[in-house]
Amino acid sequence: MLKIENLHASIDGKEILKGLTLEVKAGEVHAIMGPNGAGKSTLASVLAGREEYEITAGTVDFEGKDLLEMATEDRAREGLFLAFQYPVEIPGVSNVNFLRTALNEIREYNGQEQISAKDFMALVREKSAIVELDAKLASRSVNEGFSGGEKKRNEIFQMAMLDPKLAILDETDSGLDIDALRIVANGVNTLKSDNNATIVITHYQRLLDYIVPDFVHVLYDGKIVKSGPKELALELEEKGYDWIKAEFQH
């Protein structure tokens, strides 16, 4: 589904990703862990199409298409979803209105008909239940006045509504209490299928107790330096990142 090869990316002339390679197949959950500053969020930003980053080398293939050539909105329309680390508040734009616009633009791009108001509202009811999001929040302005946990749940609600092929969760667990974490993880697990894939970016192993990854990758200094089964996460939790740093420092 996603094939990243030798990806180099920099911002303001500073290289952050230094030859990252990663392959994600349908049905898989990948966890990307790593110390602060390793390039985890940069990877998410580059995949979503943030224009501040300059791609200096490498390729990203998404379902047979060159992802890096696409505008942000087209990546979303092709089925890529980024759950933001810091979801943005947009006063005056209602959550449902915005989602309906998004859903219809995605459908139009894929040659599908617009969703009817009735079907849309039914979908909102169904999907908001997955993350136990109050129906009232669904009709409020996007993220405005939401608590941290509500914002993260809203991200997963949007993911449920848009039904992406590949979801990237950028530190979705940070700032969540254990109950919210469980709800968010449960939402992600419910949405999982053989046809979609998830990349979970996290600093803490805690989330991986709830979203069980097929692969764990350690990102350090702009590269994936270690990959392994889910047990690798426990090892990282136990030993911290220092042994990685010691091993790969140059």
Partner: protein
Amino acid sequence: MNLETIIPEMAASVNWKLEGNHLLSKDLQKKALSVLENTAFPTTRTEAWKYTRLAKIRNGNFVAQQTQLTSNRHQIDSNAVSMVFVNGHFAANLSSTEFPEGIKLLALSQMEPAELAVLGTDLPLDGELFNAFNTAYATDGVYLHISANMHIEPVIEITHITTGNSSIAHVRNILIAEAFSKAQVIQQYVTENAATCFTNVVTEVSVAKNAFLTIDKLQYEDESCFTVATEQVTQAADSNFTINTITLNGGLVRNNLNIAVNGNNCETHLNGAYILKGNQHVDNHTVVDHKVAHCVSNELYKGVIDEKATAVFNGKVFVRKDAQKINAFQSNGNVLLSDDATVNSKPELEIYADDVKCSHGSTTGQLDEEAVFYLRARGIGEKAARQLMVGAFVGDVFAKLTNEPVKLRVDQLLQERFEWNFD
């Protein structure tokens, strides 16, 4: 005007070919002419005109032109009682002929001299050039009198159409809502095949005891045209006055909205939205003068400024010494969509009473790029994302419009001019 005796700097020296119907009293006209002979055009050194240059108006070669149009394609509300003026002259052929009970609605030109002689006397003339020009040269305008206790169901729609090359119009409207009456008025300013025209309109509004009056003012003139539009409003006790000023096109537009709240327990609502692009210059000057106690005023103006356009907002709220228990709120917000767009915003509160609740605020910024990215990351195209953000920003002003046909027209004009869909 006697050109030989006029000092070149003075307003009376302008090269405009004017005509006056001598509508108002001779004395008033004489006084107005003398103001013009003794007052220079304001420059940007004059505080009230600091950000608005009048050279294009002052140096214009405008000619008063009487033109007939065969149809009015601007009608907003098909059920409205309609009064149409073309280049400052009443267009009887385009106006309603039947009127609901409880109103007297006619053109000033249809009135008896004796009736006219007592009108227009409250408008300040000293140092007020555009008021003086209007008083001296008004060719026509609306006279609306709403009888006491009458609730007028149909909206009263006043349309000013400007047409031709360099035409000039001076229009004087007089709206009187008697005690306990209720009515809704639309005032719209539009152009048809017009270039470099100038319209100078004064509307005097009197809202009597416990009367409710709403004015939706919609400005959509050609980008080469100039307008100075003044509303001089007085409110008596327990009255409720709302004015929504929506400016969507026009080269140079100056709105002077002066509201004197003379009675206790009044409510005053001033809402404004301006969406500008090109080289447009739109200047909203508002004054709310709270002279007595126990009143509420709410002012919300928002603007979106693109390309090389300029917006000016100057909102003054006075709370006089004995005007206790006043709640006065004022807010002006602007979004600049380009590096060349400009806004000058100056909210001002002058409070002489000590037991009041007042606030004012002004914000100017750009669209939140992070929010635009967020919307795009969900599959919304960049243009639609920006439009959604802009719509959300000015949407709370449009939400104040209660008249459905006006809302529809605003949406239609936004679509036409900006390709924006706000619903």
